[in-house]
């Protein structure tokens, strides 16, 4: 891919998603759409207290309502075999005992013959509680935070060095908790085919993980569990684990001896499938007059539940991004009477960069050094944490490309000094980074005598259009048109693949596809013998040898390169905002996002990834926030009317640019992930632009008009 065409703003270069048509025509079938024979419908009842125990459950009225098949709770739930072996800290064990661990914790499941009847009857169940005093506020309880089991503090040099630097910033930041709100609600259809044989159609980011977890929980052999999840209507981490509603539907199907469908409501999405944890952070950063960093210290405390120690370690980025002799990071967690958080796009780094890159911006104004220049002055040539070389890093070029594209030179040097049509103008920028991994993956590749190539692996596609790059890799490697290639995914029957999460799929599965194709070609070479062409007419060769197909199953995984290098993808975000000087309304006027993520395999879907991440970042910066009424420990904005994500009107033209420099140290394709980096750093870039426009630094997201209106206050 030529760089000029790849990065042209109006570029439509590249193959469209191979499943695009199915998705926009309704041809793609999602978990909740599998209306198997004999289906019954489950509806969950959530606790209305945040901590305590269930005193009684009166389900008489519900059981007598029309169409009701069962009401299941801890009072009558069949034993779930795997629960006995669960460690002390583990995901919720549904219907296990009378304990209520948070407001919304599912306490009963009602199953009826139609969804409407189930919903109505569920509303008739009366649950009485013995409430205990709960604690749900992070801000009021920061002092009780502890180090997570997995994470110690990190020290390099003198942790207090920043304090004695001639220029320094000390600042606290709050990132509110953000809820997973993919378009598709979490849903499962569960069917027992025999007492020890289970089939589920489920929303999951990893069919193999779901398969093995369900086998463990229900005490049946792994091969007796089939998981189908061909299409996923978006998932940003919420489908990385088996949740209580999945176990509930499966146990429900056992009780009523019919398949059961259970789809969460939008409100349930706020309590039942994790979220990005509300996090307090503090940064101390110091520099010399020439901009060279003297020290960075970063403290972070994120909320978790009482039953799991979830930690996303946001402070880590401060020991990884800039060259600096004195580094200190300290991650803590605080247990509250809330549901557990879970990974969410750019976990840790999206939160951590908001603090670090806001602090860098603040420091740049103190030093009177251009924010981009300050980053270049402190550019890390080797990993500050380990001293190892990078597998590949072209971040310098990314800064340059982004600055040029947005017109960085025209930014107001003095905050609040530029207007356009009465609106204040501001420019801001930020860096993003995320580890680049390569996980083990296996692909089965079959060439048929009609010339079609079938690739199979148990990866999910949570939205990026995974099949598209895979087909492109195979097409290029085999020398056949993409129309002749089919990529089968999302089924536990296929060979092993990692969960789709952490931006690893092109690197992991893409490499496996590539290696499988190479192996397949070698098999053909063996048939043809010496002197044959590298890309023969496969169908003709098969026919010639009286074969209907030729297949290979190829494993792929990382090697010793992981010990030699540290591996990251990088991003740079440049933002122009307009701020109304009276009302404090912020409009993002332009966004330029540059990805340094190795070779770009599929330009069109890559561009979509960047645009999607940028939009999510605008939401993080300007609107997303979960609100809890601490008197009840309950989320009070659990709807799309009250919890805002961006709409079209909030989104400007977004330029997605790519450095497109292959990183051949990580995998044979030279490609690294970009799902996370598209988001990571966005919030800081917007906040920094708002500062440049107004002179007001907002350190608690989201930047809603109320946070800015104060400075435009009437005399």
């Amino acid at each position: 891919m030529n760089k000029r065409t790849l990065n042209h703003p109006k570029s439509t270069t590249g193959t469209s998603r191979v499943d695009g048509r199915l998705k926009v025509t309704g041809g793609a079938k999602y978990a909740a759409e599998f209306n198997v024979k004999g289906l019954a419908y489950g509806v969950l009842v959530g606790a209305t207290i945040a901590k305590g125990s269930i005193r009684s459950i009166d389900s008489k009225k519900a059981e007598n309502a029309p169409g009701v098949l069962a009401v299941i709770s801890h009072l009558n739930c069949p034993k779930i075999p795997g629960y006995a072996a669960e460690p002390a800290k583990a995901p919720i064990k549904i219907f296990y005992d009378d304990k209520v661990l948070y407001n919304g914790h599912a306490v009963a499941l009602l199953i009826a013959d139609t969804f409407e009847r189930a919903q109505y009857a569920a509303s008739l169940i009366k649950v009485e509680y013995n409430a205990q005093k709960h604690i749900t506020s992070l801000k009021d309880n920061l002092g009780s935070a502890v180090a997570p089991p997995s994470d110690a503090e990190f020290k390099k040099g003198n942790p207090d060095a920043w304090q004695s630097a001639p220029f320094k910033v000390e600042q606290e930041y709050i990132l509110p908790s953000e809820v997973h709100n993919p378009m598709e609600l979490h849903a499962i259809v569960a069917r027992w085919d025999a007492p020890d044989k289970l089939t589920v159609w489920d929303k999951t980011q990893g069919v193999k993980d779901t398969q093995s977890n369900l086998a463990r929980i229900f005490g049946i052999p792994v091969e007796n569990v089939q998981v189908h999840s061909k299409y996923v209507g978006g998932a940003f981490g919420s489908a990385l684990q088996v949740w209580q509603h999945e176990v509930a539907a499966i146990i429900g199907a056992k009780v009523v001896k019919r398949p059961v469908k259970l789809m969460l409501t939008r409100a349930d999405m706020f309590t039942s499938v994790g979220y990005r944890p509300l996090t307090w952070q503090k940064i101390g950063i110091g520099a010399a007059a020439d901009g060279k960093l003297v020290g960075i210290s970063h403290w972070a405390t994120g909320q978790t539940s009482t039953y799991e120690d979830f930690a996303e370690s946001p402070a880590d980025v401060s020991r990884q991004l800039y060259a600096c002799a004195n580094l200190y990071t300290n991650n803590k967690i605080l247990s509250l009477d809330v549901g557990s958080p879970i990974w969410m796009r750019g976990p840790g780094y999206a939160t951590g960069t908001f603090a670090l890159e806001s602090a860098m911006d603040e420091l740049s104004y103190q030093l009177n050094i251009d924010p981009v220049e300050l980053r270049l002055i402190n550019y890390a040539e080797t990993d500050p944490e380990t001293g190892k070389p990078y597998s590949g890093k072209s971040l310098r070029e990314a800064y340059k490309m982004g600055a040029e594209n947005i017109g960085w030179h025209s930014r107001p040097k003095k905050p609040g000094s530029m207007t356009e049509d009465g609106w204040l103008v501001g420019y801001g920028m930020s860096t993003g980074m995320f580890q680049a991994d390569r996980e083990p993956a296996t692909v089965k590749a079959t060439m048929n005598d009609d010339g079609s190539l079938i690739l199979q692996t148990a990866v999910s596609d949570i939205g990026p259009g995974t099949a598209t790059p895979m087909v492109l890799i195979a097409s290029e490697t085999m020398g056949i048109p993409i129309e002749n290639i089919r990529f089968d995914l999302g089924d536990s029957a296929y060979p092993n693949a990692p969960q789709q999460g952490g931006s690893t799929i092109v690197s992991s599965v893409g490499s496996a596809v590539y290696l499988a194709c190479i192996a397949l070609k070698e098999k053909f070479q063996q048939l043809i013998g010496n002197g044959g062409t590298d890309k023969p007419d496969y169908a003709a060769v098969l026919k010639q040898h009286n074969l209907v197909k030729l297949e290979v199953v190829t494993d792929s995984k990382a090697g010793t390169e992981v010990d030699k290098y540290v591996m990251y993808s990088w991003s740079v975000h440049f933002i122009k905002v307009l701020v109304n000087p009276l009302t404090g309304v912020v409009k993002v006027d332009k966004a330029t996002c540059v990805a340094d993520s190795g070779r770009i395999i599929s330009p069109k879907t890559a561009r979509s990834q960047i645009i999607g991440g940028a939009i999510m970042g605008i939401g993080m910066a300007l609107m997303e926030e979960t609100v809890i009424d601490h008197r009840y420990g309950k989320v009070m904005n659990a709807s799309f009317g009250d919890y805002h994500v961006p709409v079209q009107a909030d989104i400007p033209q977004i330029e997605a640019l790519f450095v497109n420099e292959p990183d051949l140290n990580i995998n044979p394709l030279g490609a690294k992930g970009m799902g996370e980096i598209s988001l990571i750093g966005m919030a800081a870039a917007v906040a920094n632009a708002v500062y440049n426009a107004t002179g007001k630094r907002v350190t608690e997201l989201p930047i809603t008009p109320d946070k800015l209106v104060g400075w435009g206050e009437l005399s």
Partner: protein
């Protein structure tokens, strides 16, 4: 779910008869009513669908413009007469909800829509409006969207409509009909403050229906503006909104109309501030002083204190836009 009857009315008389029985609700576009049923806030025995009555018209009268109660929000906002005579109304309508919703929503339904207070919507929470006597969940809870004017110890909710803010500013009149005949209610007196009866949003009697709204002609068309400040650029309720309409002669304000949304249990007309501006010249200073007058008596709660700043700032911005000073 609870079964209910559905009746399609073909005459006004039919509607009046139907609503004289308890448990019967009028349904127009259904965009608010059906939500209430889904959330379990109401469970009517019967719905009477009025959308087949001949009340869709937007017609000129001797003194102004008449909107039938069934005129769709989208149709009114694009109507040539409305755009020519009352552009403020069009702006306010377009600032509300989404195109899909405006295609269903009616004039009467918009007026009758109920508060968006999250405690009102959550049946596990106390709420005097939903269940009188249970207390007000918002008073000491998450009250960022709530009132700064005219609240009571019982309820601090706001009326969520944009359209109504414009109609209040434009001196409109509501025409309602009941068994005893028609009544004309000044728009500013249609909705009510919560006082001791937060369960009542307005002065429409249980056995009455709205049939339309009259808007008198005026000289505001050239200098009106509807400003809606919200958490995102579209599809969000107002933090505060301002309907500003000016009748200017040279640089002098002959007449002014000013109303706010998102600040009270009803569209909040600012008579004092209007009076202050009349005869004054068009300057930012005039607008600032008007904004200060407008804010007299405002009272905030834990999470909505910002409205004490945002409301005056928005008044100034709206007046600047309306007068062309911006």
């Amino acid at each position: 779910m609870k079964q209910f009857q559905y009746q399609r009315a073909s005459t006004q008389q039919g509607v009046l008869e139907a609503i004289s029985k308890p448990g019967t609700k009028i349904i127009a576009g259904g965009t608010n009513l059906v939500d209430h049923m889904k959330h379990g806030l109401i469970a009517p025995d019967k719905l009477v669908d009025i959308t087949h009555l001949p009340l869709k018209g937007i017609t000129p009268t001797k003194t102004g413009l008449h909107l039938g109660t069934l005129a769709l929000n989208s149709v009114v906002s694009e109507d040539a007469l409305v755009l020519q005579k009352q552009p403020l109304l069009s702006m306010a309508l377009k600032a509300g909800a989404s195109p899909q919703l405006r295609n269903m929503a009616t004039v009467g339904g918009n007026m009758m829509q109920r508060t968006r207070c999250t405690y009102f919507y959550d049946t596990t929470m106390p709420c005097n409006k939903r269940e009188p006597g249970t207390g007000c969940g918002a008073m000491e809870g998450y009250n960022r969207m709530h009132a700064i004017f005219g609240a009571s110890a019982q309820c601090i909710a706001v009326h969520p409509s944009d359209m109504c803010v414009a109609l209040a500013a434009l001196d409109a009149t509501v025409i309602v009909v009941g068994k005893k005949g028609q009544r004309h209610i000044p728009f500013t007196e249609f909705h009510r403050l919560p006082d001791d009866h937060p369960e009542l949003d307005n002065h429409l009697a249980k056995d009455e229906m709205i049939i339309g709204v009259d808007i008198p002609d005026n000289n505001f068309a050239k200098n009106s503006y509807y400003l809606k400040v919200r958490d995102r650029q579209s599809y969000a309720f107002a933090l505060v909104s301002v309907a500003a309409a000016l009748d200017l002669s040279g640089g002098t304000i002959k007449k002014a109309r000013l109303a706010m949304g998102g600040v009270a249990h009803k569209p909040w007309r600012l008579f004092e501030a209007e009076k202050f501006m009349e005869g004054k010249s068009v300057t930012e200073e005039t607008f600032k002083q008007a904004a200060q007058i407008a804010l007299q008596g405002a009272k905030a709660y834990e999470y909505n204190a910002f409205k004490l700043k945002l409301a005056p700032a928005s008044i100034v911005e709206a007046l600047k836009q309306a007068s062309g000073l911006a």
